[in-house]
């Protein structure tokens, strides 16, 4: 199953701010280029975009979880 990896080390966020819904929920369809989360690196935020499309995304990483570069953020089925 294709995986979406974090290109950077930092903190993973599922939504654009704490009072907003997540970009994607488990089970959602994704298109190439859809934003699936943010990585905060040294106080700057970087959008993470899907590089593959699918009908069923499964997150492997929780909101606000620290990640290393190369960590699996989600799998796309």
């Amino acid at each position: 199953m294709p995986q979406l990896l974090s290109p950077l080390p930092g903190t993973f966020y599922r939504s654009s701010s704490p009072d907003k819904p997540p970009f994607k929920a488990d089970g959602d369809a994704v298109a190439v280029g859809d934003v699936i989360g943010l990585i905060e690196v040294m106080k700057s935020f970087h959008e993470i975009k899907a590089e593959v499309a699918g009908t069923n995304i499964r997150f492997e990483c929780d909101n606000e979880e620290p990640v290393m570069a190369g960590a699996v953020l989600a799998e796309v089925g």
Binding site: G10, T11, E40, V41, M42, K43, S44, P66
Partner: protein, 458 residues
């Protein structure tokens, strides 16, 4: 004198404060998150307490956990450093309520200076020139039209509850003002839950000049000014003292106005009163007060010989100000540059990673404030400041030469840093002439940034 100090911070400022405390014979306690187990501040403190996961709000911003750590180790004082809890009035109050000396001003002084409108009123009441505009909140658009008599155009309409550049609108003429005022009020209400507005004249090309003060709650002195006009996105990158722009007479007026304000609010500890200086009009205007030690404090220490962090610790321990104004004299010129883990050629993208090798500059008039060591991994969770390189020399010209020499000695292998930016700035005729203002650097970067390629040693 304080007996045991907990430093509620990390990185280079935690190292700086721990060193100052040790120099005074005070026992020291570091705190650290999961991401900072291997940090220098943990290694040099007498004790260290783990305070939680990497996310700052769960560790360095967690008041309950920090107060519990202070209680567990039997600390009698807490130093907040800068950032994190440094300008949190409730934290200062909570320390006092727990019987801990907070190294800094009272919660009330932080509150007064933290609110833009009350700070502006306090400055005006102390006879400190403020940017022409409303003295407090502007009741309605009719009151706003009266304020225009003082400000002229362009004018800024700002949310009283805003900050960090948010909630600001600029009107260039009366029709724009008439349209923007109600929009700004509605936006402020929606964004901040407070529709209060105030107004200020837009100062065009201005320098950022700030005055270092020390207070003991009743008396206050100044340690002269710093100029920090070289900024990118409102972040200072290069700071120096003294400012080339001030005459002796204007320096005296500026510095004594800061002392009046510090006395008026019963300021305690080290603080900074920030101003805009309008070269064309030869006038300065109060913008805000930072109620904490600042990143660029070593610049002032280099020209005055005063250890600002140590003085802050003495004051927090209950000593009155040791220094009289006549004891504080400035000598020579100092420059600080901020070496950040950022790639200046790629829009200053952050670059965390491992320091594979390190060469620290030295020799006369060179100071390197940092938490780096060879093998240290810079975590991605906090700010990008790696080191402050501070140089001091007899003249500004000699200080720039020394800066270039020290930068060329410096190697931080494994990371991209802002070093190429400072080598290029030191070589720039406008910087050499001191002919800059707060928006100068952003314009310069548009044509120069692509050439600022860092060497990335293996």
């Amino acid at each position: 004198m304080l007996k045991k100090l907990l430093v509620a911070n990390r990185g280079e400022i935690a190292v700086r404060i721990l060193r100052a405390a040790k120099d005074l014979g005070i026992a020291t306690v570091a705190v650290y998150s999961d991401a900072d187990r291997d940090s220098l501040h943990v290694q040099i403190a007498d004790e260290a307490v783990h305070i939680g996961p990497p996310a700052a709000k769960k560790s360095y911003l967690n008041v309950a956990v920090i107060l519990r750590a202070a209680d567990e180790v039997g600390a009698d004082a807490v130093h907040p450093g800068y950032g994190f809890l440094a300008e949190n009035a409730d934290f200062a109050d909570a320390c006092a309520a727990a019987g801990l000396a907070f190294v800094g001003p009272s919660g009330d002084a932080i509150r007064t200076m933290g609110d833009k409108v009350s700070a502006r009123s306090a400055a005006h009441a102390a006879g400190v020139p403020v940017v022409p505009g409303s003295l407090g909140r502007v009741a309605d658009i009719e009151a706003g039209r009266h304020v225009l008599i003082d400000t002229g155009f362009p004018v800024m309409i700002k949310a009283a509850a805003g900050g960090g550049g948010r909630g600001i609108r600029i009107a260039n003429d009366l029709p724009e003002f008439e349209a923007a005022f109600p929009q700004a009020a509605a936006e402020a209400l929606a964004a901040f839950g407070d529709g209060g507005l105030y107004m200020e004249k837009v100062i065009g090309k201005a320098r950022h000049i700030e005055v270092q003060v020390l207070g003991d709650g009743s008396d206050a002195v100044h340690c002269f000014e710093r100029e920090c006009s070289l900024q990118r996105r409102r972040q200072k990158v290069w700071e120096e003292a003294p400012s080339q722009a001030l005459s002796d007479q204007l320096r005296e007026e500026l510095c004594s106005s800061a002392v009046r304000l510090a006395r008026a609010v019963g300021y305690s500890g080290a603080g900074t009163v920030e101003y805009l200086y309008d070269d064309a009009a030869d006038r300065f205007y109060f913008i805000e007060m930072n109620t904490r030690i600042q990143v660029e404090h070593p610049v002032t220490e280099m020209i005055t010989g005063v250890d600002l962090v140590a003085e802050g610790l003495r004051i927090a321990g209950g000593e009155p100000l040791r220094l009289k104004q006549r004891d504080i004299v400035m000598r020579g010129h100092a420059i600080e540059v901020r070496l950040n883990a950022e790639d200046p050629a790629r829009d200053f993208a952050p670059f965390p990673g491992t320091v594979t090798d390190l060469r620290v500059p030295g020799g006369p008039g060179v100071r390197f404030e940092s938490m780096l060591y060879a093998g240290y991994t810079v975590p991605p969770f906090y700010d990008s400041l790696l080191a402050k390189l501070v140089v001091h020399a007899e003249t500004r010209e000699a200080a720039i030469l020394r800066l270039v020499r020290a930068l060329k000695e410096t190697r931080i292998d494994g990371l991209k840093t802002t070093k190429p930016l400072f080598l290029a700035l030191a070589d720039d005729p406008a910087v050499q002439a001191g002919a800059v203002h707060t928006r100068w650097l952003e314009g310069w970067l548009e044509t120069h940034a692509a050439r600022l390629v860092p060497d990335l040693e293996p």
